[in-house]
Amino acid sequence: MSDDKTTHFGYKTVREEEKQGKVAEVFHSVAAKYDVMNDLMSFGIHRLWKRFTMEFTGVRAGNKVLDIAGGTGDLAMKFSDLVGPTGKVVLADINDSMLKVGRDRLLDKGYSGNIEFVQCNAQYLPFEDNSFDVITMAFGLRNVTDKDMALREFNRVLKPGGRLLVLEFSKTKNPLLSKAYDLYSFSALPIMGKLITNDSESYRYLAESIRMHPDQETLKGMFSEAGFANCEYHNLTGGIVALHKGIKP
């Protein structure tokens, strides 16, 4: 009998140490066309979800912000404007391909000075305790192998009173929307992936990983377990996506 711990990679069960590598393969494959695919797959709605997230950050000039799994830097760019020259934004991602795309995009747009780029694993953050005012993670948590551990790490590096915002796919309770969403995710997404990035498997993983991700209430419970207070969530687009918020006491 094996002592190996297992986890989900989409609908497949894999050993924990395997998941990170498999997720990395997915993102290496899609990094170059990540933004185009996001716009196509969500019909541009992901911009509205991120806009909603920004409203809850409460970021001000001089704040220190960590955008973990920040990918191509959508949120980091906005944070850079808000924190100004006295603040700091750390754009972090475990995947070097995604981080390179994000870094090049931000530098090409003239963002520098108050932005740092860090390649790191959300489960083992290379930052001191109590060092960030705000942490955001948009569409990244479901790819993390040990989500509880990552949440505890976020809690560790946040300053007391700092807030964590996790934007992630979730579960809709509307049966009609749920059926339409399933049909779209498992039929249209892999075809779009095949056409645009020549990779249908990665987008099949996307659809499967969304289904395996904890629902709103479960994730809220995980926030509390990790030590966050005033935990709440807001459903978006009928619950297809949810924004979870927690404050470090």
Binding site: I45, R47, L48, W49, R51, F52, E55, F56, G58, H234, N235, L236, T237, G238
Partner: protein, 205 residues
């Protein structure tokens, strides 16, 4: 209402406002001076609060922790306010409640009353100055014609209802009648006071 729909509405409105302000630098500067203040516009029915954050660009949000001023009222009251040219006066007369810094709310009302978008510059960005000038002249001509026609139709319809159909009195007739009613009211009040005084005297004897 789903947050996504609200965000779509706010993003579109924000884009339109900032685009419009780009063609009226005077009002844009006035609004920029209000930075970093936040005005909450709370519509009671349907329940919706929009936060307006001032700065180089105006930002519209559905959530914000604190606001410097809050306007609360029915949607109809806000629509009515938007339709008035003098928004400052209309805001003071309206059923909209102002909490917090009234200066901020009135500052926004003043600025939006003064908004004069340079449509010609907006068209010139797309077509170039020559075409924009020709189009601008045409648009100004049409706009003048619409204004004068609307005013004439309004005057004619008032005259028709008053003089031809005789459904309403002339303004002077009305004023004279109201003045007579007012005088009668004052006389009645005096008479009432006098009666009361006489009654008191009688009771004293």
């Amino acid at each position: 209402m789903d947050h996504t729909i609200i965000q779509a509405g706010l993003a579109s409105a924000e884009l339109a406002i900032n685009k419009a302000l780009a063609y009226d630098p005077a009002v844009k500067n006035k609004l920029a001076k209000l930075a970093p203040k936040v005005l909450a516009i709370e519509i009671i029915k349907p329940k919706l609060t929009v936060y307006v954050q001032f700065g180089e660009q105006v930002s519209l949000k559905s959530h914000h922790e604190q606001s410097d001023a809050r306007l609360t009222g029915e949607l109809s009251a806000f629509l009515n306010l938007a339709s008035h040219e003098d928004k400052h006066a209309a805001l003071m007369k309206s059923d909209i409640q102002i909490q917090g810094s009234s200066q901020l709310a009135l500052g926004l009302a003043d600025a939006s009353s003064q908004l004069q978008i340079d449509w010609e510059a907006m068209i010139a960005d797309i077509t170039g100055p020559v075409v924009a000038h020709v189009l601008g002249n045409k648009i100004r001509g049409i706009s003048k014609w619409i204004q004068s026609t609307t005013q004439k139709a309004k005057d004619d319809s008032v005259e028709y209802v008053r003089d031809e159909l005789q459904l309403t009195p002339h303004k002077l007739e009305g004023e004279s009648r109201f003045s007579a009613i007012h005088k009668l009211k004052i006389d009645t009040d005096r008479l009432e006071a006098r009666m009361a005084r006489l009654n008191k005297r009688l009771q004293e004897r």
